[in-house]
């Protein structure tokens, strides 16, 4: 297997739009933000592929190994395909019986169902569990194994030391067809790519592809399942129950273990939350003899690379239907026995440098969270707590402007600031041309107090400009008015459907030639108008847009204030 620079799961930076969704969904907090882009720490990543499934921009992806597969087949070697049982969910109905044909069309010499291996795994697991004193966790799911090894070193001994169906099957294949026979595993799972690369499995599985990759391959070769004849697999024992492996409880069923969900010491759990909850069970409460965890919710049929968008329970039904079907098109081959035992060990701990409370407090202070009441732990940044985020900032895996409440406060305070500090008088009227708000400059220049709120503008000044804009006869009205001995440039325009804005700039003391004056007037009026409109809109917008709008108002503010 080639060694590559990127990890198995990574971000295509061109597509990442820093929405932080991956940070929020990553069950182990392996994702951070650097330079505005989501970044996966390969050492922390358990390859579960949750981020791939969840990324709205499809920016999360995994290492594609199609070229390796093509090269292998082009080399003229005998290559066998081991296809995961969830293929019945990925290729339901009439497609199921046409998948083996398509694989042979691609050049595979043998096409087999991994469920053959799953049967061996299930039987060995149940057998092994009997002698495992501290209660056994099944190890068919590589994400569960990765999780345990990286984050639950105390639980390592609970893992049942049996290989996964993929490994068991690949060994069966090589035993049966000769060690020269290469094996390409095809499944819905990204973590299988990491499993195949484990040192102890060297030379067992030669390439791991996903169903998505298979789809791409078929498309490239112009192989249409529609035009494939129905056909079967080469099969060691006719699979049957083992075809239920990709749905929760399927392994226990294959192993003949009773499991109806109400039995004290036998359980299945699926989805990262359930699995992690199970792992966090205290030692004294751990009473399982056999537990079947699948890291993806509802099992492998929801694997990140399954390549179908069908309803998850429809997928489940398709798997059950396939397992129950009576048609047997398979070619039976002599079963062989293979070694099914393996070892699991804890990864070296991921020790961060460790940060002092002062350092964390410093980050808090930069985000205005020094007091507990501002530490909302809202998770909007993608980190589950403010503290975790602060640590990530210190590690260089997060940036402070990822904190939404902080950014919102920033934006709002600036909006107020602009209006409050503007040297121009600003007044906002409602659709009946009554005053709904005004800024200090307006109060000062037009000698009024909050008492005028709710009064017609005509109470203060000639309202011709407002009337014209309100009647629609003019879009924007500009004039010069005099009030209390001062000259003001007046700009009136409509704001949204039901508001009118008047901006009054004092021009009596400006001694500039008319051209410069015009220019200035124009610019001032425009900027002020734009700003106001922008800010009113902004107040209605969701937090998602805060970053952008803040930046914009800041820029405008700076230009207005001549900083």
């Amino acid at each position: 297997m080639n060694v590559r620079n990127t990890g198995i799961v990574y971000t295509q930076s061109a597509k990442c739009r820093d929405c932080y969704r991956c940070l929020r969904v990553c069950p182990v907090g392996a994702i951070g933000i650097r330079d505005g882009q989501a970044y996966i720490d390969d050492d922390k990543c358990i390859k579960c592929g949750t981020c791939i499934r969840e990324c709205p921009q499809k920016a999360k992806t995994y290492r594609k190994d199609l070229d390796d597969a093509r090269t292998l087949l082009a080399s003229g070697k005998v290559v066998a395909a081991s296809i995961a049982p969830s293929f019945a969910a990925a290729y339901p109905g009439w497609m199921t019986e046409r998948v083996p044909s398509a694989l042979r069309m691609l050049g595979f010499s043998y096409v087999l169902e991994t469920s053959d291996g799953a049967r061996l795994t299930a039987e060995a697991t149940v057998e092994k569990a009997k002698y495992q004193k501290c209660g056994g966790i099944c190890t068919a799911c590589p994400a569960v194994v990765n999780y345990t090894e990286k984050y639950k070193p105390d639980m390592i001994d609970k893992l049942i030391k049996v290989v996964s169906p993929m490994i068991a099957h690949a060994r069966q294949i090589k035993r049966s067809f000769g060690s020269d026979c290469k094996v390409i595993f095809i499944g819905p799972c990204v973590a299988k790519k990491s499993e195949a690369e484990r040192k102890e499995y060297e030379g067992v599985v030669d390439v791991v592809l996903t169903f998505e990759e298979l789809d791409e391959w078929l498309k490239h070769e112009k192989i249409d399942l529609r035009n494939m004849p129905e056909s079967g697999f080469e099969s060691f024992d006719g699979c049957c129950d083992a075809r239920l492996f990709p749905i929760p409880g399927g392994m226990l069923r294959t192993g003949g273990v009773e499991n109806d969900g109400t039995i004290m010491n036998v359980m299945h759990a699926s989805g990262s939350e359930s699995v992690m909850e199970m792992f966090s069970l205290s030692e004294e409460n751990w009473n399982f003899s056999l537990i079947e965890p699948l890291f993806c919710r509802e099992g492998c049929i929801n694997g990140p690379a399954i390549g179908t968008k069908a309803n998850i329970y429809e997928r489940r039904n398709n798997v059950i239907k396939y397992a129950a079907r009576e048609r047997n098109l398979n070619k039976t081959i002599e079963p062989v026995s293979v070694s099914l035992f393996t070892e699991y060990s804890a990864d070296p701990p991921l020790a961060g440098p460790g940060y002092s409370e002062d350092e964390i407090m410093e980050v808090y202070s930069r985000t205005g969270k020094t007091s507990d009441e501002f530490q909302l732990n809202c998770g909007a940044c993608g980190f589950s707590s403010c503290r975790k985020m602060a640590i990530a900032v210190l590690e260089g895996n997060a940036e402070i402007d990822m904190c939404m409440p902080y950014m919102r406060r920033m934006a709002e305070s600036r909006k107020d600031l602009i209006i409050e500090t503007s040297p121009n008088g600003i007044v906002i009227l409602d659709e009946r041309l009554t005053i709904s708000s005004m800024n200090p400059a307006f109060r000062k220049n037009f000698l009024c107090s909050d008492a005028v709120l709710g009064r017609k503008i005509s109470y203060l000044m000639d309202d011709i400009g407002f009337e014209k804009v309100a009647s629609g006869s003019e879009e924007k009205y500009e004039s010069v008015i005099e009030f209390n001995g001062a000259k003001y440039h007046q700009l009136v325009y409509r704001l949204g459907d039901a508001h009118y804005v008047g901006i009054f700039s004092d021009i009596s003391r400006i001694r500039l030639n008319e051209n410069v004056l015009d220019e200035l007037r124009h610019q001032t009026a425009e900027k002020a108008g734009e700003l106001l409109k922008h800010q009113l809109d902004m107040a209605e917008k969701v937090a998602m847009l805060l970053g952008e709008s803040t930046a914009k108002s800041e820029e405008l503010l700076e230009r207005l204030m001549g900083k």
Partner: protein, 669 residues
């Protein structure tokens, strides 16, 4: 290196590659010159004149029979040429019955297409000839002389490719017509119903006999159970009727369509082909073991079987007694339905879907008619099925694929490649090698028996026994091979014959192919299909094994013979009354009948007749004789054969006749 010739077509310089005539060069250059009578695989006839082009210095010439010369300047589209082509089509239409809307060939018809292309919007000539009778007498083909444009394609393909000559031109000038001998119908002559004439006919003058309405009727009858069997070659060709590429595998769509149309079950003839391999290979190995006369000929092609019955009766014992897969299926299906109580044989209708027109004839053979009726009730050709699908309003290419019913829907690759020339041999080898050597771990591909050659040979070493396999496509080639076997020039142990070019994929019931490349692509489709299956050797078919366990006991068992084997008998090429040559007036006359069958004819029957008649006339005893010619006394190997008043004189000579006459006279006196 020799410089390639260059010519100018409509002022565009073009290189002449290996094209044989100007027409091919022009077509290769992308200009579709219209023709009726040009087919690359048969001789050039030059009758239709549609391919006329103008060559500088030569004037108008038929491009099909003009050799391209270096520097030639050709114009293909002058006003004169256009006018002439249009006139030819108009004149052709004048002697055509123009019944397009009711013609089964409509939309596939070259005449219709050319009339459209040439912009013929009026036929100014009145029809003069009275309507000729339509020949519906055979089981397979319908001949409508009113639609014939006298291009002679059918005549030439029958003679040149198939070596039969069942039809030819008769009469002259405006009376010209294409007809079987003596104006007989096709059921009474040497036609083997291969349908190659259908394949080349540009109009609807020869078409397969349709079973469409009978099949609909059966489907609509609630009393009946109707099952379909699908021949391998159909699945890689029917797509062409719906705009798919030749060789595209449409099995799933066909099964889906058949179900939607109302068939109760859909099975695969390839299952029966696997069964055929079991029976035929065992028969073959048994023949070797017992030192029987070799070679053994295959029997799955009904065109070939009738051909052999007519021309090589002395080899009938060499033909495998296995019924064809179509018939094995029919017989087996009726038997098992009856046994399981699924349906009585009387209420079961077996419809086969075949690339072949001769299969209609085969299904009607008396050998395959039992007390409950036929084993195979109806035979639809690929094109008929396409029509039924269209009639049903199904959008074929977008149908979600469906799968065959079990158990007769399960096949191995061996049963699928049956549809290609060499396929039967290869499937036999896949079993024979295992059976003889005991080896199971060998590749299933036998490249030496594949390919598009008319006659292929392969030597296969089976445990030290070097066996010669011959593979023939096209009956003309079959005749060549038979003659070489007969003369002792060649020796074979096993000979596979398929009447059609390319094998069943090139059958007369298939969509009309554009060229031979189409057939090659269909063949490739079948081999791909084989490759995609999990099993390739017929003996590995678990349902075939189950069938032996439950019903047939073992290959070539008594039960297998009863259900799956058949027999052959010599067949007159031309049936019907004898032809009277000379009729005497005397009351007491001697009747001498000369066999004019091919065998006797080539051995001098005609000279013998002439000598005899001359002798009788000279001796002035003509009144005492009735001299007749007949077609075949079915004793071809000992010809010429003469029936002298009820007594057969084999290897007859003039002297034998004269001495017979003397003896009779002496006896009387």
């Amino acid at each position: 290196m020799k410089m390639k010739k260059r010519i100018y077509i409509d002022n565009i310089e073009t290189t002449v590659n290996d094209e044989r005539n100007l027409l091919e060069v022009i077509r290769a250059a992308g200009i579709d010159i219209p023709t009726f009578c040009y087919h690359s695989e048969i001789s050039i006839y030059g009758a239709c004149r549609l391919c006329m082009v103008e060559v500088d210095g030569k004037g108008l010439v038929p491009s099909c029979s003009t050799i391209p010369e270096d520097g030639m300047r050709v114009r293909t589209n002058t006003a004169e040429i256009r006018k002439m082509r249009k006139m030819i089509v108009e004149l052709t239409l004048a002697s055509h019955d123009m019944s397009c809307p009711t013609c089964a060939k409509s939309a596939d018809c070259k005449l219709q297409d050319l009339a459209r292309r040439m912009g013929v919007d009026e036929v100014r000539f009145k029809k003069r000839a009275p309507k000729k009778p339509i020949d519906r007498a055979s089981e397979s083909l319908v001949r409508d002389p009113n639609k014939c444009v006298l291009c002679g394609d059918c005549v030439r393909v029958c003679d040149e490719v198939q070596g039969i000559g069942a039809i030819d031109f008769a009469f002259r000038g405006s009376e010209s017509t294409v007809t079987p001998c003596f104006g007989k119908n096709l059921d009474k002559v040497e036609c083997v119903y291969c349908g190659q004439c259908v394949r080349v006919c540009p109009t609807g003058a020869i078409l397969p006999k349709s079973h469409i309405s009978e099949v609909w009727e059966a489907i609509n009858d609630p009393e009946l159970t109707v099952v379909a069997q699908l021949a391998p070659a159909v699945r890689v060709a029917i797509g062409e009727s719906f705009g798919l590429e030749p060789g595209t595998n449409s099995t799933g769509q066909i099964v889906a369509a058949l179900r939607k149309m109302g068939f109760d079950k859909v099975y695969d003839t390839s299952f029966a082909a696997d069964l055929t391999i079991m029976e035929e290979t065992n028969e073959f190995l048994g023949r070797i073991e017992n030192g029987n006369k070799m070679p053994m000929f295959t029997s799955c092609c009904p065109g070939w079987v009738k051909f052999a019955e007519q021309y090589y009766p002395e080899y009938l014992d060499n033909i495998s007694t296995c019924a064809s897969p179509q018939q094995m299926f029919g017989s087996l299906c009726k038997k098992t339905y009856q046994r399981s109580g699924a349906s009585s044989a009387e209420k079961l209708r077996v419809v086969s879907i075949m690339p072949c027109t001769a299969k209609k004839f085969e299904a009607a053979r008396p050998e395959f008619t039992k007390e409950y009726g036929r084993d195979v009730d109806y035979v639809l050709t690929t094109r008929e099925l396409a029509l039924m699908i269209e009639e049903s309003g199904l959008r074929f290419p977008s149908l979600a694929p469906d799968s065959f019913d079990m158990p007769f829907g399960f096949k191995t690759g061996g049963g699928v490649i049956f549809g290609s020339s060499g396929g039967v041999t290869e499937a036999v080898l896949r079993y024979a090698v295992e059976k003889v050597t005991g080896e199971t771990n060998f590749g299933y591909v036998f490249e030496s028996v594949r390919g598009n050659k008319g006659i292929k040979s392969a030597i296969v070493d089976l445990s030290g026994n070097k066996l010669r396999f011959g593979i023939v496509m096209g009956l003309g080639n079959a005749r060549k091979l038979m003659e070489s076997i007969k003369s002792g020039e060649e020796h074979y142990d096993f000979v596979e014959v398929m009447a059609c070019p390319g094998g069943c994929v090139g059958g007369g019931g298939q969509p009309v192919p554009e060229n031979m490349e189409t057939t090659v692509r269909r063949s490739r489709g079948l081999y791909e299909n084989d490759r995609m299956l999990q099993l390739h050797k017929s003996q590995e078919n678990p349902y075939v094994s189950e069938l032996y366990d439950k019903l047939l006991v073992s290959p070539n068992s008594h039960m297998a013979h009863e259900l799956l084997h058949t027999s052959y008998k010599p067949r007159q090429r031309t049936e019907g009354d004898d032809v009277s040559i000379l009729s005497g007036q005397a009351d007491d006359r001697t009747e001498i009948t000369f066999c004019f069958g091919t065998g006797c004819f080539v051995k001098g029957a005609q000279e013998l007749l002439k000598e005899t008649v001359d002798f009788i006339r000279e001796a002035d005893i003509a009144d005492s004789f009735d001299i007749k010619a007949t077609f075949c006394h079915e004793n071809c190997s000992r010809g010429p054969v003469v029936d002298y008043d009820g007594e057969m004189i084999e290897k007859c000579t003039f002297d034998k006749i004269v001495s017979r006459m003397s003896a009779v006279r002496a006896g009387k006196e």
